[in-house]
């Protein structure tokens, strides 16, 4: 039986294997400077960090930072930052008992200021697209990296508090604060479908995107573009649009629903832990 570490690696691999996933790098589509092979290197690079996530004796923030440091050992920069941020607490929950939303919340709530500091250090390893922080929170701008540490310690912010602060603008942070509702729901969709996992991944991605505007698109473009992408994903689900054509169009316009891809990886991990057969 595959261990939680192995399933986390496999979830990263299956996520990028699924095609079409409009706007994402997948098996059949890539950007010139962000290619499929970079996701392979990112997944292999994250193994030692994910092994720490599977080790209850290691700080969760440190496990995440190491996952990102390893992931970043390829030339394309950020490939799976958000996916790893979701996978680390899910892996930790799994090694401690049953993988449920409630128990995942407990793992999240147990995070500390040390975890928050490690989270900020992770941004030193890789450029991640983020917006300016809200007014009054400039001291916590993640682009400050380790420079934010004194403020984090002063205020006693645990990693779960940091996530709470960005829940409005980041779909990954929202999963952290809300007990991973979309990841667990999407895992159910995967579990009830038949056929190649690649196809299930593609349709799960489309359903997630059709459900809510992608916060990564919003950061890279604007709210309107994100909402329009969600509308187009709905049309694809309803059969009014060819998802392959939509994929070409999104790649052409650099509309990359990265948060939706992160959620898809988290859902795949949960589904694998619950017995999804590949």
């Amino acid at each position: 039986m595959r261990s939680p570490l192995q399933n986390a690696v496999l979830a990263l691999l299956l996520e990028v294997t699924g095609t079409p996933k409009p706007g994402n790098v997948d098996r059949h589509r890539e950007y010139e400077d962000l290619r499929f092979e970079h996701f392979m290197a990112g997944a292999s690079g994250s193994i030692p960090g994910l092994a720490l996530a599977a080790d209850s004796g290691a700080d969760l923030g440190h496990a995440f930072e190491q996952s990102v440091a390893g992931m970043a050992e390829q030339t394309a920069g950020n490939t799976q930052f958000g996916a790893l941020l979701l996978l680390c607490p899910l892996v930790r929950t799994t090694v401690q008992g049953e993988l449920t939303p409630r128990r995942t919340e407990t793992v999240v709530e147990a995070t500390t200021v040390e975890d928050a500091c490690a989270f900020y250090r992770a941004f030193e390893h890789v450029d991640v697209a983020v917006d300016d922080p809200p007014d009054g929170l400039e001291a916590l701008d993640i682009r400050r990296g380790p420079d934010a540490e004194p403020h984090l310690r002063d205020q006693g912010y645990a990693l779960c508090d940091v996530m709470e602060l960005s829940r409005e603008v980041d779909g990954v942070a929202r999963e952290w604060t809300d007990g991973f509702p979309r990841s667990f729901a999407a895992a159910e969709w995967i579990a009830t479908e038949d056929g190649p996992v690649s196809n299930q991944t593609s349709s799960t991605f489309l359903r997630l995107l059709a459900e809510e505007p992608d916060t990564f698109i919003e950061t890279q473009h604007d709210r309107e573009t994100a909402e329009r992408a969600t509308e187009q994903a709905r049309e694809a689900l309803d059969g009014e649009r060819d998802p392959e054509t939509l994929a070409d169009e999104f790649v052409e316009r650099s509309i990359n629903p990265g948060t939706t891809a992160d959620l898809t990886a988290a859902a795949l991990f949960i589904a694998l832990e619950r017995g999804l057969t590949v």
Copy 2:
């Protein structure tokens, strides 16, 4: 820096990422019952076994058997048996010092009867296409699995002796007995090319196939088919044939140069250890 274990996993992933690799499963082509996703699961499944290969305290044969057992935890059967058989001694050589043909030979020569027994047990985990053994060697038919053990012990056959017995019919065994000449040569080709690793993988595969008939094709079909495939690979290299068309044709006729793919994975590992950038 990625560890030898991580580079071995990455080599498996990059091998199947390279496209076109005529006749193999790759990013753009798959068989109905042997899909790209099965190779992702095979690579992730082999992590604990490859970790044993990277641990000089573990028997190399046991490391290989565990790699295969983990690889086989997906529904398509044999995905990377031969590649793992090449990677295990290469990983072991790497953790013990410089990765050279001579030092790899030393690792091979140090294998024992225990390693041979573990090798035979590996065939219990997965169906591997093999021919009947030569006359007089029926007792060593690998399809006998652990039943061959008494004979192995009687004769004092180490794993390197077993490989010697099949060197005429199996390109992977030949690498074992000859100091991995084709793997090391192909690693040099990869190192001297520019551009996406996926393209380098594809052209390395084609060069290897053009160089020698694939023993896996010979086992599954016959010598003539293997020789014809090599001729066609040569024509593709010379620009007389479109490798994409050749890929479609090989898949159509189930001509799968599996040994050439195994060698490509071994070459990728050596290239990664020598600094290939992804």
